[in-house]
Structures are given as structure tokens and as C-alpha cells.
């Protein structure tokens, strides 16, 4: 303390120095409070705001109002105070208020990221630094005027247009991680669509938009066929480009769901807007397919309503379903042809629901309400990373990853990151805080892995990051560095009662999996392994195998019932046998029958009803890989499964034990098996 005073000369300067340090440390907590306000606002919009969440948001706003000004954020105090006031009381919150709250949260965030007023504190915020990274949209066009116009319109977003003749030239000049999108201008030459393929190979992480003179549906479909994210006909507007390339790089999530109605009469639109009372919804009427793309100003619509039938509507369903940006949208078709065949082909093309065109306004409103309610269920899974991620979204994200894997023909790694103790955070600090932690982590991951091909939500409390041109060891190094740094500061999201830590699993193509599905399974296994080893760890499947290869045990216990496995383990170790517990089928196959067969056991106790992969599948894998020649499998089964026992014995099991297991009996049966079998030979 004395040192600071003497060097700085006066208390004010010393105070400023130390305030800057504390401010930087406190920023994540402040941002979480802004998130809490935003989450509560979107919960109102979704109709799921309960009193507890409302009080909690009010409290967070109150705390932020109290703290902001002390750190030089006077405007944050004012904004938070307004939010606190809006949350006060028990009365209903109108949609205007929701909008204002969303706005307040965004303004608070901006103010926090820009640093305190009247003081220059460069670099005090990690977000501000990351924003300074230059972003480019590649434009392949002969039209310099188009480049100039788009450049001028995009510059306020901090994005520059980079004009190129060839993909190779672009690749040479621009770093992958600086490119956030690409536009291929066909002019009047539709053979230039081939350029889209080369762009997708050279820059697999970005979406490519095609524009051209032609307004034909055929060209649009052809563009979708070569992997374009969308098609725009000239004159191209900047807003449309932003929408199509959009995503996390340029778009702000919006709290109010949108319904886009294509070809629905104005009167019916009005009736719909008036009668859908279940939820706040914004109905946007458009009259051609292109406008459907253009109308996505605020993220993917909750519902798309299309009027029409036949091949054209079917093709449109396919185009919408083929565009990952519409992954969360429900697609409803109002058709005049209500016949089983027609309905089946529309559903097959990707429609979620088909209704007769003659449907009454009230029935239509009721049906839309049902879909909005389902959407609301999904929206509770919304991820601030993208503003649209849901379970369904994470599947579509993986599909996109698979697509990139197939196209890129380069090393590709999948990283699954999960928040440890997420349930504890929920219990101690509430769902709102847990969601805020999740949102915060999403943003930090996005900043860290801005070069990732795909980044999104993974199930309930995790994230998936797909890195192209990265093998498993490089990916492991990167994610380890990230977890270390995050534990040290930014991502060590700490509140009074909760602290988030992370575990991660890494797998790479083609070492750990030959197709996308096995790759994902391998990453899941690695993640589970990391978590089981105490959390806060990163594992790659390879690493796991290397370590496991050291071990040979007498008995491997494959069962997901930890009470049972604990008891068996105790009893067997008491008799001097070495043991290893594996709690799911996938891990068992990977460890005992995997490519490198890293673990050997003289006896394998195998539960038949396992999570992941059932006991029969594990047994088949063991048989196929020749493990049964040197190991003996004892099947653990419920009494009601006599047929299963026969089947298991036919597959090569030596014995079976009926649950509930008599531990002493089991030990007596296992002992001779361990002693009879020849010693396991090291591989």
C-alpha cells in the first residue's frame, strides 16, 4: 500500500491505478448482471417469467446500480436503476417494457465494454480488444461499384469488403480467422457457381452468399445445391447480406419471436397478429420467397408460414430446411391440396405441419399458438452465443460440422466443453444465474475460438467447437490454454456462491472416428473421462488411450450403478484383485475392444442395460475384436431377462449373475476365473 502511495504521489492517482485492476476483475460479474436483466426480459417475452426470476433480476439490477457508479460507470447506474424500477412490483410487464429492458441490457453491456466514462482505460476490457480484430467479407466480383457500396454500408459494423479475382488470391491475402463471410457475384454468368465450391473448400468456416442478375428460382436452388447460404438478386442490399452472413459475428439476438407469413393475405395476417395472444409475436408478411430471406432482420423466425402447394412449395421447404440458419424455425404450410400423398411429400420435404388453406382465422391462430408454445420450450434453451441455439440447433450445428468435414479433406477436431458443477450453480444461485454463466462462457468461447468452423451449444450445459486444420493434439493444447486462462481470470465466473470450472473432450478426424457420428461419440467419451477424473480437465481420446494402455486389471466392472460397482470393487480388492470400473457401454467398448484395445481384464463383469451402448453391443464388439479369447465375460442381468441370458451366452459370455447381486457369491464365482485364465500378455 505504502509503495503505491509513494510512487503515485497522491491518493487519487493511486486509487485510479488500483480501481482499474479491480474493475477489470469485476467486469465478468457486472456483465453477468446485465445478462440477468436480458434473460428476465426474454423470459417475459416467452411468457415464462416467474416471480422468483423477476425478483432475482430486480436484485441484480439493484446491485448493478449500486456498484456501477463506484467504478466510474455512472450511466450503468442510471440504466440499472431504470431496469430495477421496471421489474418492481407484481403487475404485468408490457411488450414495450420488454423491448426497453432488452435495450437497457445491451446499453449496459456496451457501456461496460467501452470502459468508464471520462477516463481512458484502453484494454481494460477483453471484449473491447477482441472487437478490434479486423473482419472481412470476401467479395468475388468484377463489379467495383458493388464493392464500394457494400464496403461503405458494412463499415459501421466494423467489417471491410475484400475484393478478389480468385479464391487463391484471397486465401493468400486474408487470414482464415479474419474472414467472416463471402459473397460470390455471378453477374449474368451462372457457371461462376463453381467458385462457391472453391470458396467453401478454402474457407470452410464461413457462409457464402451468391448474388446475380437472374431472379430465377432454378438458380436459387442450384446455388443452394453447391452450398451457398443464400441467393440475392441485384441490386443487392447491405441489410440482406448482413442477414445472410449474419450469425454471431454481426447479429444481435432479439427477444421477441417472429412469424414470417409468405403469401398470406394482409387481412389474415392482421387477424393472426390480433388473435395470437398466447405469446408476444411479431407477424411479418412477405410476398415472395426472396423476401423471406430478407425478412430475417432479427435472427431466425420462430415460425414460417407458407401458403401454396405443389413442387414449388416442396422445393422451398427443402431450401429452408437445407439452410442451417433456419434450423430452429418451424415451417407451416397452408395448402389447398389436403391429400395423404401431398401432405406426406410436404412433411418429407421438411414442413413441420400442413394445414388446409381454408382454415378459419381462429383455428389458424390456435395452431400457430401451439407451435409458438413449442418454440418457447425450445427457446428456453436459447444460447446467447448465437441467440438461436437449441437442442435442435446443436444437431444442426453438428450436421454443418459433418458437411465441413466432408468438404474440407483436412484435419478436423471436435471439442466438447462442459461446465462443471452446473447443477450446483442452479441449486445455489438459480437458473437465471446459471443461464447467465452459460451465456457468458459462450461469449468467451466465441472470442477465443473466433476462427472455429462451428461453435455452438452442446446439450444442456456445454459447447461444441469444431476446428478445421487442427489435429487432436493441437486442439487439446488450445483448449487447455483456454481453460487455464479462464480459470485464472475471465472465465472463472465467480459469484458469491458459485464458481464455474470446465472439462473438455477432444477427438479428431480421422484418428478417433471415420465418420462424424463416431467422431462425436469419441469426443463424448473423452469428455466423460475428463469429468470423471475430477473435472477442470481436458482429455483427448488418444491421450486417454495412452494412459489406459498402461493398465491391466484382473476384473473390469462395466455397470452404471455406482453403488453396486463400489460394493463389488471393495469386495474384490479385499481379495487382492485389481479392478477398473467403467460406467457406460461406449467407454467399455473403447477401452476393452477399441482400436488400440488399451485395457485388458481377465474377467469382465458386464451389465446388459448400459447407457450409451447396451451390453449386447459391447459383447459383440468384444467378440469381434478377439478379446473373448483371453478374457471371460460374466453378464449381470435382471431376473426378468432370461432370454437375454441365453442370448448373451450364445454371444460368448462364460457365466451370468442375476441382480440383485449377492456380492459374496459373485466374488466366489469370479475368483476361480481370475486364477484359471492365463496371465494377460501385454500388447
Amino acid at each position: 500500500m505504502g509503495v503505491v502511495l509513494s510512487s503515485a504521489g497522491n491518493p487519487a492517482e493511486a486509487l485510479n491505478d488500483r480501481m482499474a485492476a479491480i474493475r477489470e476483475r469485476s467486469l465478468p460479474a457486472f456483465l453477468l448482471r446485465a445478462d440477468a436483466i436480458a434473460s428476465a426480459a426474454s423470459a417475459v417475452a416467452d411468457g415464462v417469467l416467474d416471480d422468483e426470476v423477476r425478483r432475482s433480476a430486480e436484485r441484480e439490477a439493484h446491485k448493478l446500480a449500486g456498484a456501477g457508479g463506484s467504478f466510474g460507470f455512472q450511466n450503468v447506474t442510471e440504466l440499472a436503476r431504470e431496469a430495477e424500477h421496471l421489474f418492481e412490483g407484481d403487475g404485468p410487464i408490457s411488450s414495450e417494457v420488454v423491448l426497453r429492458l432488452t435495450e437497457i441490457a445491451a446499453q449496459i453491456r456496451t457501456a461496460l465494454e467501452e470502459g468508464p466514462q471520462g477516463e481512458d482505460a484502453p484494454g481494460s476490457s477483453p471484449q473491447a480488444v477482441a472487437r478490434a480484430v479486423e473482419k472481412y467479407v470476401l467479395l468475388f466480383s468484377a463489379d467495383a461499384e458493388l464493392a464500394a457500396r457494400l464496403g461503405a454500408e458494412l463499415s459501421p459494423l466494423g467489417v471491410s469488403i475484400s475484393l478478389h479475382d480468385s479464391v487463391d488470391a484471397a486465401k493468400e491475402l486474408r487470414q482464415d480467422n479474419a474472414v467472416i463471410g463471402a459473397i460470390v457475384d455471378l453477374g449474368s454468368d451462372s457457371t461462376r457457381l463453381a467458385v462457391v465450391r472453391s470458396v467453401n473448400v478454402a474457407f470452410p468456416q464461413v457462409a457464402t452468399v451468391v448474388c446475380g442478375e437472374s431472379d430465377d428460382w432454378a438458380v436459387r436452388l442450384e446455388a443452394a445445391g453447391v452450398g451457398a447460404a443464400g441467393y440475392l438478386s441485384h441490386p443487392v442490399s447491405c441489410g440482406d447480406v448482413v442477414d445472410l452472413l449474419g450469425g454471431p459475428a454481426m447479429q444481435e439476438p432479439c427477444g421477441i419471436p417472429t412469424l414470417i407469413a409468405l403469401g398470406l393475405s394482409a387481412a389474415k395476417c392482421e387477424a393472426l397478429q390480433a388473435t395470437v395472444t398466447e405469446s408476444v409475436v411479431r407477424v411479418v408478411a412477405v410476398d415472395d420467397a426472396e423476401a423471406l430471406w430478407g425478412a430475417r432482420a432479427s435472427g431466425a423466425p420462430a415460425v414460417i408460414l407458407v401458403v401454396g402447394d405443389g413442387a414449388r412449395v416442396e422445393a422451398m421447404c427443402r431450401v429452408v430446411r437445407g439452410d442451417f440458419k433456419f434450423a430452429t424455425s418451424r415451417l407451416l404450410v397452408l395448402s389447398s391440396v389436403i391429400q395423404p400423398g401431398a401432405i406426406t411429400s410436404l412433411l418429407g420435404a421438411g414442413a413441420d405441419d400442413v394445414l388446409p388453406e381454408s382454415i378459419s382465422d381462429a383455428d389458424l391462430a390456435a395452431r400457430v399458438t401451439v407451435w409458438l408454445r413449442r418454440d418457447r420450450g425450445a427457446r428456453q434453451e436459447i444460447d446467447a452465443l448465437t441467440g438461436v441455439a437449441t437442442q435442435r440447433r446443436s444437431i444442426s450445428i453438428l450436421e454443418r460440422g459433418a458437411w465441413i468435414a466432408a468438404k474440407s479433406e483436412t484435419a478436423l477436431s471436435i471439442v466438447l466443453v462442459e461446465i462443471d458443477l452446473h447443477d450446483d450453480i442452479v441449486t445455489k444461485s438459480g437458473r437465471l444465474m446459471a443461464d447467465a454463466v452459460l451465456a457468458h462462457c459462450g461469449r468467451d468461447l466465441e472470442l477465443e475460438f473466433h476462427d472455429a468452423a462451428v461453435i455452438g451449444r452442446w446439450q444442456d450445459r456445454g459447447f461444441v467447437v469444431v476446428l478445421s486444420n487442427t489435429d487432436a493434439s493441437a486442439a487439446t493444447r488450445r483448449v487447455t490454454g483456454f481453460l487455464q486462462r479462464s480459470a485464472a481470470n475471465r472465465l472463472g465466473v465467480s459469484t458469491a456462491s458459485a464458481r464455474a470450472m470446465f472439462s473438455a473432450g477432444v477427438a479428431s478426424f480421422p484418428d478417433d472416428g471415420r465418420d462424424w457420428r463416431t467422431l462425436t461419440d469419441a469426443a463424448v467419451v473423452a469428455l466423460r473421462d475428463a469429468r470423471r477424473n475430477g473435472g477442470g480437465r481436458v482429455r483427448s481420446l488418444q491421450q486417454r488411450r495412452d494412459e489406459a494402455a498402461m493398465s491391466r486389471v484382473d476384473v473390469a466392472i462395466v455397470d452404471d450403478d455406482s453403488v453396486l460397482t463400489g460394493a463389488i470393487e471393495d469386495a474384490l480388492s479385499a481379495c487382492g484383485h485389481s479392478t477398473r470400473v467403467i460406467d457406460n457401454g461406449l467407454s467399455a467398448t473403447a477401452a476393452l475392444a477399441g482400436i488400440a484395445a488399451p485395457l485388458s481384464a481377465r474377467v469382465i463383469l458386464l451389465d446388459l442395460g448400459l447407457p450409451g451402448q447396451d451390453g449386447f453391443a459391447v459383447l459383440s464388439a468384444l467378440k469381434q475384436s478377439g478379446v473373448l479369447a483371453r478374457s471371460c465375460v460374466v453378464v449381470l442381468t435382471g431376473q426378468a431377462q432370461q432370454n437375454s441370458v441365453v442370448q448373451a451366452l450364445q454371444l460368448g459370455a462364460c457365466d451370468y449373475v442375476v441382480k440383485p447381486v449377492d456380492i459374496q457369491d459373485l466374488v466366489e464365482r469370479v475368483r476361480p476365473l481370475v486364477e484359471q485364465l492365463p496371465a494377460v500378455v501385454a500388447e
Binding site: L15, A67, G69
Partner: protein, 126 residues
């Protein structure tokens, strides 16, 4: 003799800023507590000359902490200053009626906080 001030606030950052501003601006000693309950224990144990008490805390809040302090012979005479983000005059009056010596506003200016506390208590800064 050196004065001792106990700061009770559940927010780490606020506690740290208040502590820092007092250490830089005065010669008082500072003791901190991160909850009402630890505040009560810390007060009994260190016998501070005054307590700076946050109002909104999880579990035992400011008023409950004040009641506990006033109910204990060992701490009953220690002057208490509330620190609150409540802006309404009526809220402040309620807090004073509970037996607080003064009510200071959040957010506070770290450069002025020591003087505000000194004024409320009739202390000097050194």
C-alpha cells in the same frame, strides 16, 4: 488510537473498493466481512469503532444484521452506517429509524467515501 472500521458487504468488488478507498484516504484500520452473519461474529471479535453495512445481502440482510448487533451487549453501542442503492427518502428514513447512525448512497465515489464516513461519525481522517 487508530480507529477500526468493519465493512460488511456480500459483493467482493464493492468491499474491495471501499476497503481500498479507506486505506488510501485515511489511517483507519479496516476489517471486512462478506455476509451479515460473519459481520456479527467479526464485530463481536474485533470490536470495531464503526460498521459500514450493506442493506441488501442474501440470507441475513442489513436490517437483520443491525438488529443482531444491537441485541448483543458487546456490539450494541457500535455506530452503524448503512450503505444502500435505495434512492427513496422513505427507504432511508426507515433505515435511520432502525437505529443507524447514517445512510450513505451506492454508488459512492471512492475518493469521497472516507470524508462522508468521517462526517457522519465526527471522526478525523487520520
Amino acid at each position: 488510537m487508530t480507529k477500526t472500521l468493519l465493512i460488511v458487504d456480500d459483493e467482493d468488488d464493492i468491499r474491495e473498493v471501499a476497503e481500498m478507498s479507506i486505506e488510501l484516504g485515511t489511517s483507519w484500520a479496516v476489517v471486512t466481512a462478506s455476509s451479515g452473519a460473519t459481520g456479527v461474529a467479526r464485530a463481536a471479535e474485533t470490536k470495531p469503532d464503526a460498521i459500514l453495512l450493506d442493506v441488501m445481502m442474501p440470507g441475513m440482510d442489513g436490517p437483520a444484521t443491525l438488529a443482531a448487533l444491537k441485541g448483543n451487549d458487546a456490539t450494541q453501542a457500535i455506530p452503524i452506517i448503512f450503505l444502500t442503492a435505495k434512492v427513496r427518502a422513505s427507504d432511508r428514513e426507515t433505515l435511520v429509524a432502525l437505529g443507524a447512525t447514517a445512510v450513505l448512497s451506492k454508488p459512492f465515489d471512492p475518493l469521497e467515501l472516507p470524508q462522508q464516513i468521517a462526517d457522519a461519525l465526527g471522526w478525523g481522517l487520520s
